[in-house]
Symmetry: C2
Subunit: 120 residues, 2 copies
Amino acid sequence: MSTVKKERKFDGRLQAHLEARTKIIKALAHPTRLFMVEELSQKERCVSELTEMIGSDVSTVSKHLSILKNAGIVQDQKRSSQVYYLLRVPCILKFFDCIEEVLEANVKAHIELVRPCCTL
Amino acid sequence: MSTVKKERKFDGRLQAHLEARTKIIKALAHPTRLFMVEELSQKERCVSELTEMIGSDVSTVSKHLSILKNAGIVQDQKRSSQVYYLLRVPCILKFFDCIEEVLEANVKAHIELVRPCCTL
DNA sequence: TGGTTATTTGGTTATATTACCAAATAACCA
DNA sequence: TGGTTATTTGGTAATATAACCAAATAACCA
């Protein structure tokens, strides 16, 4: 009589939580936005400063910033006619360390593929 | 005479590095793949087990796994006719803690918006 | 060998993301 | 007020992602 419980872990609350996380991760998933996050972790910057550094159209830069803001990663502050952005959640930087670790592991694995005998 | 050096920080090496990081972050930027990473951090799993838990088509699950593998986040191991996947870089989990921190900060900010007087 | 299960790959369609230009808004100052 | 600068928003076209089905591959077993 007892039907085998189907272990589907992917519903409701969990799904919503995963999507909330995904939104934040997606906001980070662009080279320009990564650059911004690192830059804004050093020092607040206004849109035109960032635009100068990045070299895309201002509208593009502004949209990238709004994606980061919308995800809660940066916050903005208007001062006179400029809008300054700054990093809101510093732990993001620790996260980058982990990404770096993945990259290093990848490089190492690649080297080992080429020269299987001698692990660096 | 000396022209003002234009501080464009967004070239060559840096750009390549940002793109490498982006690839890894993108690989994480999907609810199904987040689920897989957490699942595989507990215990290795083969494709059909994951498929059962997730409830999408096997081909979809397989493609998600290949994205994670390609980014160097998981690794696979063939045993007889099954392919087992497991997390390759455990620091990814610490990363999730940071994402969680962002989420919590967002919730908090949202609550403060609604009731500006009483910080929880 | 022929049939079955596990996994990957190719193709197609729907949706999402991105970049740029143009136009709208906002703040300032002469 | 009119002109200028800073920023955001809307529109559009190009590209990237994602889901599913169908078919290919691989391992196994009778």
